[in-house]
């Protein structure tokens, strides 16, 4: 029964991880930009939602919409005003990395100054779990987050599989020249990637705000996990990132079954390390970058 409980918890957390990882993976896949400031999009949208929903009591759909807009706007801003200028000089991988990290640092402290440095939660009955079978507690939000995750992924894979721009994005991750064939300039595609990739973190952010709670530093942790999930799933593969996030969420929680709690975080990165050594291409990734 414990196992089942941990499994359910794992699914819930995994859904959130998957939702954040997918954004990172989408952006990286189609722009080859290692967007370490991805966590900031998460933090920003989470705090926007919290501020609107629990401070100003705005109805949740409006708050959610605002959060989506904020996240997308942040993504576009990064692409347009940070990454593009840097890449004008054939920037090295780490130039981008440091710039993104600088942004992350800025946002984190800005949030701290504006919203305070404590933990903020959006109180909702949804996060209260009910004993469905004896010993097995499930919160409505668990079901909701899993459902939403599935929804987002179906929408996303439709978008990537059917729409013109979506196909272009996939093409871009295969090889940039292909996109010109589509008569699209990579810049546009990149903007879409950033807008959409950043927007999909919103559900994860909101669910986190309702369950674990937000704090200004949350972006870093999110970034680490989505990075790990992306690698485990295979860089550039949305499906992979989703499974990767799920796997990490499950691993982190199932670790409690036999291991002492303090090792659960490490498990994530053991999984990551193992994957890189033994299966660099991840679940679905094409091992182009891996040697």
């Amino acid at each position: 029964m414990v196992f089942l409980q941990l499994f359910v918890n794992g699914l819930q957390l995994g859904a959130i991880y998957a939702l954040t990882a997918v954004g990172f993976s989408l952006i990286f896949g189609s722009t080859k930009i290692f967007h370490v400031a991805h966590g900031s999009a998460f933090a920003i949208s989470g705090y926007i939602y919290w501020w609107l929903a629990s401070k100003l009591n705005v109805p949740w759909p409006v708050a959610t919409l605002a959060a989506v807009v904020a996240a997308a706007a942040f993504g576009l801003f990064m692409e347009r005003f940070i990454y593009r200028p840097i890449q004008r000089h054939e920037a090295s991988f780490f130039t981008v990395f440091i710039a993104a990290f600088g942004v992350q640092l800025f946002i984190q402290n800005l949030i701290g100054t504006v919203a305070g440095r404590g933990m903020e939660t959006v109180t909702t009955p949804l996060s209260r779990s009910i004993e469905v079978v004896d010993g097995l507690f499930i919160a409505p939000i668990a079901a909701i987050s899993i459902a939403v995750a599935i929804l987002v992924f179906t929408a996303l894979s439709y978008f990537l599989g059917r729409t013109h721009i979506g196909i272009a994005m996939r093409a871009l991750s295969e090889n940039p020249d292909l996109v010109r064939v589509f008569g699209l300039d990579p810049g546009r595609v990149a903007q879409y990637a950033f807008a959409i990739g950043s927007a999909v973190v919103v559900p994860g952010a909101i669910f986190t705000a309702m369950t674990a709670g937000l704090n200004p530093a949350i972006g870093t942790h999110v970034m680490l996990v989505s990075l790990a999930a992306t690698i485990v799933g295979g860089i550039g593969s949305v499906r992979g990132a989703a499974c990767g996030g799920m796997l990490l969420g499950l691993a982190e929680n199932l670790a409690y079954w036999k291991l002492d709690p303090q090792w659960s975080e490490a498990v994530t990165f053991i999984v990551l390390f193992a994957f890189i050594i033994f299966r660099p291409s991840g679940f679905f990734g094409s091992s182009t970058i891996a040697k």
Binding site: S92, F93, G102, F106, T113, I277, A290
Partner: protein, 297 residues
């Protein structure tokens, strides 16, 4: 006042060693490690234990740290041989996180988050060098020696081979270069010199705990290298000076609301990073703004 400057200078020196050693693999061998703080830590812990348990001399403690760090660095070399680019970055990240867990859980050795307290003052060949001025001298000496060695290495055939691998691994191997061995050697050299910084840090603070060897530290070291300029000898040193001096200077900003001062400093620091990368991506000491693909994974 002078003591403050001296103390700051010591910290800068220690970080400069870290930046220079990281630059050796990052700038010259194209190995992008997010795990440099691990070897800083291993050096620090080894030196601390050597000094506390066996009353070891600075030189001995440092040597011990270098050896152990060099051996453990094989864990980093392994992924460096299997994968490249973002994959390796992620691998080193994973390693960094694991190391932090080990540092904080292996309490019998590292003292966990409580850390190791009461590390004896540094002695070198029987002389007490814990006096700030003397210790600064020691730090600068270490930095100088490491700079000289790295300069020699970079200009040697070894250095050329590394650069060749950085620029094109396939061509390098087609010219008979044993890429695996070369990379492993590079990582070992870099890691064992990083341990020197760790040893200095230990004797300087006389208290260490895991918080000084976490991911943020690794990132800060990278920042030093990139801001200073990769694959240049002095770039990383400049980077270290700037990265440590900037916050120190910011603390002199007048009229900041006291409760916000920390955040505002951090914001300015973050902003500075971004602007530098936008307007001088090749680093302050790098080759002007000419396009350099070096560092591209």
């Amino acid at each position: 006042m002078t003591t403050y400057i001296i103390n700051l200078a010591i910290l800068i020196g220690i970080n400069a060693i870290l930046a220079v050693t990281l630059n050796f693999i990052l700038g010259y061998a194209g190995i992008f490690s997010l795990a440099h703080a691990i070897f800083f830590g291993i050096g620090a812990y080894t030196a601390a234990i050597a000094a506390m348990k066996f009353g070891a001399d600075f030189a001995v403690a440092t040597a011990a740290g270098m050896v152990i760090s060099g051996v453990i660095s094989l864990a980093l070399a392994l992924p460096a041989l299997r994968v490249r680019g973002e994959y390796f970055v992620a691998a080193s990240l994973g390693l960094q996180m694991l190391a932090v867990t080990v540092f904080s859980e292996w309490k019998s050795v590292t003292g966990g988050i409580g850390g190791l307290i009461g590390i004896p003052p540094a002695r070198l060949f029987g002389f007490d060098v814990s006096e700030p001025v003397l210790f600064l001298g020691l730090t600068i000496a270490c930095l100088a020696v490491i700079l000289i060695i790295i300069r020699a290495l970079v200009r040697s055939s070894f250095g050329r081979s590394l650069k060749a691998i950085r620029d094109d691994e396939t061509a390098a191997s087609a010219l008979g270069k044993n890429v695996a061995l070369l990379k492993t050697l590079a990582v070992m050299v870099s890691s064992s010199f990083a341990a020197v910084a760790g040893s200095l840090f230990t004797f300087y603070l006389s208290f260490i705990n895991v918080e000084s060897f976490v991911l943020e530290v690794s990132v800060q070291i990278i920042a030093m290298v990139i801001i200073g300029g990769t694959a240049t000898l002095l770039g990383p040193v400049i980077g270290a000076v700037i990265v440590l001096l900037l916050p120190a200077l910011l603390t002199y900003l007048p009229y900041l609301p006291p409760t916000e001062i920390g955040s505002i400093q951090q914001m300015i620091y973050g902003l500075a990073m971004v602007l530098l990368m936008i307007f001088r991506p090749s680093g302050l000491w790098g080759y002007g703004s000419d396009s350099q693909k070096r560092g591209e994974p």
